[in-house]
């Protein structure tokens, strides 16, 4: 074996070893301890209980309904986003991703303010009907859960599908038109087959996210409707490690089969349509009247569903519902230093999030290379590793990191490195995937030229590959950062109060009914995400959608 090949293997295997230590080992240890130590319910007791079966069924059903709704709402948006030419398109595109990167706890706040009893819609209805009691509460129960999931994931569908649609070769459509195909059959025969892979990919991802949903179901499920994740949380709190492990095992089996089908789907779609072709675009003026009406109606509904909760967050940052006044208290909280202030959580969020982003890039690059490697088994291994963090409950990861890493090393007295590790794991799927897509689009001829001009492996990497990868690294970095600063459940489990982040501070403030403080923190998170995505859109010129 040649020496540099040997090094290549070490570099490629390095992230896989890290993930084995910080993800697979802790989670495996928790599962094995729970199943075999005999504390709490056994596996059979757990799965034969009626409520466990109901939880599994409910988790699957709500995820299916949410996925269908997200596709129904997201698909027209994706078509419009790809097809329409209008001013401020890149701004809209950056804003669309905002819901997806919002911390779930912020979404809960926005949803209650918009759709809940005495929320904005309810207040309008009450005003119209002159009623003094609440008429409509959509932020509760199954309806609330499904709506919130739709809000979360419809943007994902829009981005993924529109990105794939933009690469539709206009010549095919023109030929079809010349051959006399009407718009319906053009959609059915050309557009649909072209976007089908991205449509199914976004469907699987949406299903996965809804399947793993935690704070939303906790808040709207009234203790009756639970996802597996919520029941795992319950089991951990009651120190029923047997039940927790059994449920984690079931959860992992389901998510891994989803991940495998996602990877299979990715294989099929590779090397389709050159990234150079761009779809024929048009302006709103070119549409027929009924089409204009339909488009306008759709935009209004989408604005209500997706824009509404975000607008409510802005209001929540200034409006104190208890005193019924507008105030800047929330922002003075954010700059207050000390144990009761929001300054430390803000700094913690930026520090942990920043560090986790850098780490997830450093680990993500070799992971992406491993995915492109020709060594047998390595690509599938790295794909699984990339998707694994999306499919394992973050509470289990946190509990595992705590028991097998933090406590034996004594890091639990100052656990910030553990938080950074947990957040890195959560961001990794996004950086690795984005960099992998970037790698795919590098022209192999350029690399051959570098080789033939005598560049060493390091030179080729630093001067040719990395500069070409910069846009995709940035895209992945922004996603990873957004995931890291929005992460709440793992951080909450690991952190001591001096380690609390903004997401935890929101939860904290909501608990003691400090609504403006929670609102202000939420607004800061939203602002950070928007700024990061706008910057990224500028640099990467709109290739966001390919990341996932």
């Amino acid at each position: 074996m040649r020496r540099h090949e040997y090094w290549t293997y070490i570099v490629l295997v390095f992230p896989i070893i890290l993930l084995s230590i910080f993800l697979i080992f802790p989670v495996g240890a928790v599962i094995i301890y729970g199943l075999f130590s005999g504390t709490g319910s056994s596996f059979m007791e757990t799965i034969s209980a009626y409520y466990t079966q109901f939880t599994i069924a409910f988790t699957l059903v709500q995820a299916s309904i949410s996925t269908i709704l997200a596709l129904l709402i997201g698909l027209p948006g994706a078509l419009l986003l790809a097809r329409l030419r209008f001013r401020g398109k890149s701004l809209i595109r950056a804003l669309i991703i905002v819901p997806f990167v919002l911390p779930p706890i912020v979404v809960v706040v926005g949803f209650i303010q918009m759709f809940g009893s005495f929320g904005i819609i309810d207040s309008i209805l009450m005003l119209i009907t002159k009623s003094t009691t609440s008429i409509l509460n959509l932020a509760d129960g199954v309806v609330g859960i499904v709506l919130a999931h739709t809000f979360y994931n419809a943007p994902l569908v829009m981005l993924l599908v529109s990105a794939s649609m933009e690469r539709l070769n206009p010549e095919i459509e023109e030929s079809a038109e010349i051959l006399g195909a009407d718009s319906v059959s053009r959609f059915r025969r050309i557009t649909l087959p072209h976007i089908l892979p991205s449509l199914s990919a976004s469907a699987i991802l949406t299903f996965l996210f809804c399947f793993m949903s935690f704070p939303i179901v906790l808040a709207f499920g009234n203790g009756v409707y639970r996802t597996l994740e919520v029941q795992i949380w319950n089991a951990f709190r009651w120190s029923d490690y047997g039940e927790a492990s059994s449920l984690v095992l079931i959860q992992i089996l389901i998510t891994i089969s989803l991940a495998v089908s996602y990877i299979k789907l990715g294989r099929v779609t590779e090397n389709q349509s050159g990234p150079t072709s761009t779809i024929r675009t048009t302006t709103l003026g070119k549409y027929k009247l009924w089409e204009k009406i339909a488009i306008t109606a759709y935009i209004i509904v989408t604005l209500f569903l997706i824009g509404g909760p975000i607008i409510s967050i802005i209001r929540a940052a200034f409006f104190d519902p208890i005193r019924q006044v507008y105030t800047l208290d929330g922002f003075s909280y954010l700059v207050r230093i000390g144990s009761n202030g929001g300054f430390q959580p803000l700094i913690n969020s930026l520090f942990y999030g920043g560090l986790a982003t850098i780490l997830s890039i450093i680990i993500g690059i070799p992971l992406a290379y491993a995915h492109r490697s020709k060594t047998r088994g390595l690509p599938s291994l790295s794909s699984t590793m990339i998707l694994l963090p999306l499919g394992i409950s973050s509470i289990t990861v946190a509990y595992g990191l705590m028991t097998v890493i933090a406590v034996p090393t004594g890091l639990n007295i100052n656990p910030w490195p553990i938080i950074v590790i947990a957040q890195t794991i959560i961001g990794l799927p996004f950086t690795a995937r984005s960099i992998e897509i970037g790698l795919k689009s590098i022209d192999p001829n350029i690399l051959d030229q570098a080789d033939s001009l005598g560049a060493t492996r390091i030179q080729r990497l630093l001067f040719v590959e990395v500069p070409l990868l910069v846009p995709s690294i940035l895209v992945g970095a922004v996603f990873a950062f957004a995931m890291a600063i929005g992460e709440m459940s793992a951080t909450l489990f690991i952190a001591l109060p001096q380690n609390y982040t903004l997401a935890v501070a929101i939860y904290d403030n909501l608990g003691v009914r400090h609504f403006v403080e929670a609102g202000a923190c939420s607004l800061i998170l939203v602002a950070l995400c928007v700024v990061a995505f706008l910057a990224m859109e500028k640099i990467s010129e709109g290739s966001t959608g390919g990341t996932l």
Binding site: A49, R237, L355
Partner: protein, 385 residues
């Protein structure tokens, strides 16, 4: 390398400048290392005396927890020359027990405050506690020790009565005469069931206390199957995540009249309004007497904690008047030192002498043996379908 850089500069008119990424990497690396190092140094752990407690501990007064805890514990800190680090974990006592279990091999906390008389019956809680019999137990009534934990895993700190409360702004004994002598059967009507807010017994201690109250009444007083009541109210009753959420739902929605809460709430309301309270209590009425559940919260020594002697001294100190006198107006519970004078607003609270205690109907062995299966049965009944 240098040559290629020079080349880049010379041929700038034709080719874009090729910056050396190594320099950028070096700068990023140095900046990162500096930031990480300084954060690490600033946040470096200094040995302290650590007390784990839940959010909102002593935080319901006008001054806030920081001021109150400083005032109550400064003499202790001075005497032993230490700083007490109150680690307020953003959750409830269940979560703290779960965390103590995770840390059992290498605990950082010395003392934990807030585990109550139901939770302490769990093996998970006893596993992380070290029994300690404080000499200051002589200062309090034996009944508290017995109702909390006769084996001294915990030392009583405060107590309260869990009962139903209602808002006088929306409902009163004229509109609903049954509130005077309320039974669980009264609550099964659609009107009252949908007006009742409680907490998830998995996630909230008053919620669990309410579940046990209901079980005690059905199984011990009425001799009926307790799950039937939940069957009757299922779909109407509002079960919130925790007490804060439940309080929120109860105050913001005028159709929610009743809340599972504490018997001191009218005192809190009177103190807040500076007048007559707008909150009243509706304890359950059976066998010609009123009933309520008594929740006793304790302070316990963490097993294998770093400073066991200081921990014991701290537990003794918690029963001093300096600490106990802060409980009524900041924690809105009763101090276990019944010899202390309560603030006058506590006249509006319901006192343990005025009700029969439901806990006496369920002994601790019964609770510890059945708690998991009760919770599982509760889940099964409340699961739709």
């Amino acid at each position: 390398m240098l040559a290629s850089l020079k080349l880049g500069v010379v041929d700038m008119t034709e080719y874009p400048v090729r910056r050396n990424p190594k320099a950028i990497f070096a700068v990023v690396a140095i900046v990162t290392i500096l930031i990480v190092a300084s954060y690490g140094i600033i946040s470096f752990w200094k040995p302290r005396f650590v007390v784990y407690t839940y959010s909102s501990f002593m935080d319901w007064g006008d001054e806030g927890a920081d001021v109150v805890l400083e005032r109550a514990f400064a003499p202790f800190e001075e005497r032993y020359g230490i700083d007490i680090d109150f680690v307020v974990l953003e959750s409830d006592a269940n979560f703290i027990v779960s965390r103590l279990n995770a840390e059992a091999a290498n605990p950082i906390a010395d003392v934990v405050i807030g585990i109550d008389n139901i939770l302490v019956l769990q093996e998970a809680a006893r596993n992380v506690l070290e029994p300690y019999e404080s000499p200051n137990l002589a200062l309090i009534n034996d009944s508290f020790v017995n109702s909390l934990d006769a084996e001294n895993y915990l030392t009583p700190f405060d107590f309260g009565l869990v009962t139903l409360i209602y808002s006088l702004n929306t409902i009163n004994t004229t509109t609903h005469p049954q509130l005077d002598n309320l039974t669980l059967a009264d609550l099964t009507t659609t009107e009252l069931a949908s007006a009742l807010v409680t907490e998830d017994p998995h996630l909230s201690s008053p919620g669990l206390a309410f579940l046990l109250s209901q079980i005690a009444i059905y199984e011990k007083i009425l001799g009926e199957d307790w799950t039937e009541w939940w069957d009757a109210v299922e779909g109407n009753i509002d079960i919130e995540e925790g007490w804060n959420e439940a309080w929120s739902a109860w105050t913001s929605d005028p159709t929610k009249h009743l809340l599972v809460s504490y018997g001191t709430d009218p005192a809190y309301s009177a103190n807040y309004l500076g007048s007559e309270p707008d909150t009243s209590i509706a304890p359950f009425y059976y066998q010609n007497q009123h009933w309520a559940w008594m929740q006793v919260e304790g302070v316990g020594l963490v097993k294998n904690g770093p400073n066991p002697d200081l921990g014991k001294a701290f537990i003794d100190y918690c029963l001093n008047a300096t600490v106990q006198n802060e409980i009524p107006l900041n924690q809105w519970m009763f101090p276990v030192r019944t010899d202390l004078t309560l603030p006058s607003v506590f006249n509006y609270a319901i006192h343990p002498s005025e009700v029969s205690i439901l806990n006496t109907l369920l002994n601790s062995t019964e609770i510890s043996e059945n708690l998991q299966s009760w919770l599982n049965q509760f889940d099964t009944v409340m699961t739709p379908g």
